[in-house]
């Protein structure tokens, strides 16, 4: 009888039910989209965020913890280990060389500014976009303009081959009161027995990075090597590599490379994990230690985490507003069917029997709305995927039950208030048309 009633009343008030289902469907579509996005956004964002910095740092094996205070390297220059600049081409010669987007060497020398009482400042030598000889004879230009795309220069970039063009960090420029086009003199205090090297540089532009370079002078590597007397030496290399997200295997490799079986090692070695690329760089470059820059990865994690919280909030808001919409529609249904409910009560129906009828309708509305919403949302998330990331999002089966369950829950939540009007409804009040 119950099933008969459900079936027979299915098309009663179908406009209202369709509206309720559409309300649920809209929320379900939004939830589907956000769910698809939040599952995929990790991978997508990681790829996007490669644009915001290098992810492997290569230093000499013996490099101890850098002694940096306020961005100035206080490690004594003498007795330090360096990498050979000539070795850098080998980084472009590893198994995953095509994944190496760029690299930039660094040599950081403490200097004083002539005629200014500015204390010690870093003079950083690097490649801006320098042509690097490759074994394959291809033209390969690389430097911070590729590995550090967020570095912003007001003015011009220095010429990599020049010995006198430099960028000055914006904080330092403000402190010294200098601008692009000005000339500054630097002196390098030599450790131990006296004497000092001096140089005069022309500022081609003001550099803004938001990091330590804002307080430094950045010059072509050759110029700094000459000043420091460290020809052909670099302290560290930043490498930008396209990598795939870490998985169980790569985490195992990071914990203990020796724990991998031969076949696991092969798979790991031939996959573009940041850890395996770092490993290959270590193999290729003499005396090098290559480490993934986990801060970048961690930073990605924080951003993605925040995005997911935001999505959750939006989802909850969609859920709540859909529940409210369903609630008002269901309330209308209860009003419209007040006589029917009054009659059922007069016939001695138990409270739950009447509620069951309306809750079943809510569940049907939830399921129908959920399915429609899921289909619409899947389409929408593909559209968003293409619009935002320029690629499609993977289809996640898990979203199907989740979205339908959430839709049913929405419809049921929307039925709470109407259910209370059912309870409050007195048959005497509706059966005599008062």
């Amino acid at each position: 009888m119950y099933l008969r009633m459900i079936r027979q009343s299915f098309f009663e008030g179908r406009k209202r039910k369709a509206l309720a289902a559409i309300t649920v469907a809209l929320a379900a579509a939004l939830i589907t989209t956000l769910l698809n996005l939040s599952v995929d956004v990790g991978d997508k964002m990681a790829k996007e965020m490669k644009a915001y910095g290098s992810n492997i740092r290569v230093v000499p094996k013996s490099e101890n913890i850098p002694l940096k205070i306020g961005g100035v390297d206080f490690n004594p220059l003498k007795g330090r280990d360096y990498l050979d600049e000539a070795e850098l081409t080998k980084i472009k010669d590893i198994f995953w060389s095509n994944n190496i987007v760029g690299l930039a060497p660094f040599l950081d020398v403490p200097v004083e500014i002539a005629g200014k009482d500015a204390g010690r400042v870093s003079l950083i030598g690097t490649y801006f976009r320098k042509s690097m000889p490759l074994p394959s004879d291809e033209e390969y230009r690389t430097g911070v303009r590729i590995t550090h795309p967020y570095w912003q220069v007001t003015g011009a970039w220095p010429d990599d081959e020049s010995a006198s063009e430099v960028l000055i960090g914006r904080s330092l420029a403000r402190r010294l009161g200098v601008a692009a086009g000005d000339t500054i003199g630097v002196t390098r205090p030599t450790e131990g027995s006296g004497g000092s090297a001096e140089a005069s540089y022309r500022i081609t532009g003001i550099l803004a990075t938001g990091e330590a370079e804002d307080n430094a002078i950045v010059a072509p590597l050759g110029a700094v090597q000459a000043l420091a007397g460290l020809q052909g030496k670099v302290q560290s290399v930043s490498v930008s590599a396209l990598t795939i997200p870490e998985n169980e295997l790569s985490r195992k490799a990071i914990r203990d490379q020796d724990s991998l079986s031969t076949s696991e090692y092969d798979v790991w070695y031939c996959s573009a994990f940041v850890s395996s690329i770092a490993h290959q760089i270590e193999e290729a470059v003499i005396n090098a230690s290559a480490r993934p820059v986990w801060q970048v990865a961690a930073g990605e994690g924080v951003v993605i985490g925040k995005l997911q919280v935001l999505m959750l909030v939006v989802t909850l808001a969609a859920f709540a507003s859909a529940a409210m919409g369903v609630s008002s529609l269901m309330n209308t249904a209860v009003m419209e069917r007040a006589r029917e409910i009054g009659l059922m009560k007069a016939l001695g129906a138990a409270e739950w029997q009447i509620h069951l009828l309306f809750l079943t309708e809510a569940v049907i509305i939830g399921v129908v709305g959920g399915i429609l919403g899921f289909l619409a949302g899947s389409g929408l998330s593909q559209a968003v995927g293409w619009a935002v990331f320029g690629s499609s999002l993977a289809f996640h089966w898990i979203a199907v039950p989740v979205v339908i369950a959430v839709s049913v829950a929405t419809a049921l939540a929307g039925s709470i208030l109407p259910a209370r009007s059912i309870t409050r409804l007195m048959p005497v009040e509706v059966l005599y048309g008062r």
Partner: protein, 236 residues
């Protein structure tokens, strides 16, 4: 005219029968207050098994109010009401719902059939809430009110008189202790009214206990006796 005489004989017979049977409805000092209006004021009535009682009185005299309390749809402000030996005046709503489905058959002026259920299903609904829906039994009841040919029609496809007969069938199907009807012919034309009157008369002959609110003196005359209300009090 023959019919009138028949009715009177039957009424007399039933009237004699009722004096010896047990009371189904007994009220004592029944009072219903709506704010300052006393819709019912100290009403004592007794309806015995097999009796056919008409409740009459001018508009606003409290007939519907009385019937609602007798149907366990409403509760008295004061006084007691015993139905089939059980004091129901102090029961909670869920308990009254149980009493309604076990003991009461309701016939409404406005029929109150569920629009999306067929005649048969409307009868079965009462069975469903009472115990188990039984299509054969429901069909038998429909047959007894002369509607077997209309069993699969929706209320909108039935005439007023037919709808009222479905309503009566629904009231009968669970064998209630009493059938309570509030102006069952109020919405019907004369011809259909006659059919309903005949039907109620037959039910009475079958030994059913019936309380009927009516403005129609002709209908009132069919009953074993008449309870008259005026301003919420028993009149005479």
């Amino acid at each position: 005219m023959d019919k009138r005489i028949d009715f009177d004989t039957a009424a007399m017979f039933a009237s004699d029968y009722s004096r010896t049977s047990k009371p189904v409805i007994e009220t004592d000092g029944l009072t219903k207050q709506f704010g300052t209006v006393a819709a019912l004021d100290d009403v004592d009535i007794c309806i015995r098994e097999g009796e056919f009682v008409a409740i009459m009185g001018p508009s606003g005299s409290g007939k519907t109010t009385l019937l609602n309390i007798l149907s366990c749809l409403d509760t008295p402000s004061a006084g007691t009401y015993r139905l089939d030996g059980l004091d129901v005046s102090t029961l909670t709503e869920p308990e009254r719902a149980v009493i309604r489905r076990e003991k009461i058959g309701l016939v409404f002026q406005q029929f109150h059939l569920i629009p999306y259920l067929t005649a048969l299903e409307n009868v079965m609904l009462a069975q469903h809430y009472h115990s188990v829906a039984d299509a054969d039994e429901a069909m038998e009841i429909l047959q007894s009110v002369g509607l077997s040919a209309r069993a699969s029609h929706l209320p909108s496809q039935l005439s007023g008189g037919e709808q009222q007969r479905v309503c009566i069938a629904r009231a009968l199907v669970n064998e209630p202790a009493i059938i309570l009807a509030d102006e069952p012919t109020g919405n019907l034309d004369e011809e259909n009214e006659k059919l309903i009157i005949e039907l109620l008369q037959r039910l009475h002959e079958d030994g059913r206990t019936i309380a009927l609110v009516t403005h129609n003196p002709e209908m009132g005359a069919l009953a074993d006796r008449t309870i008259r209300l005026r301003h919420g009090k028993l009149d005479g």
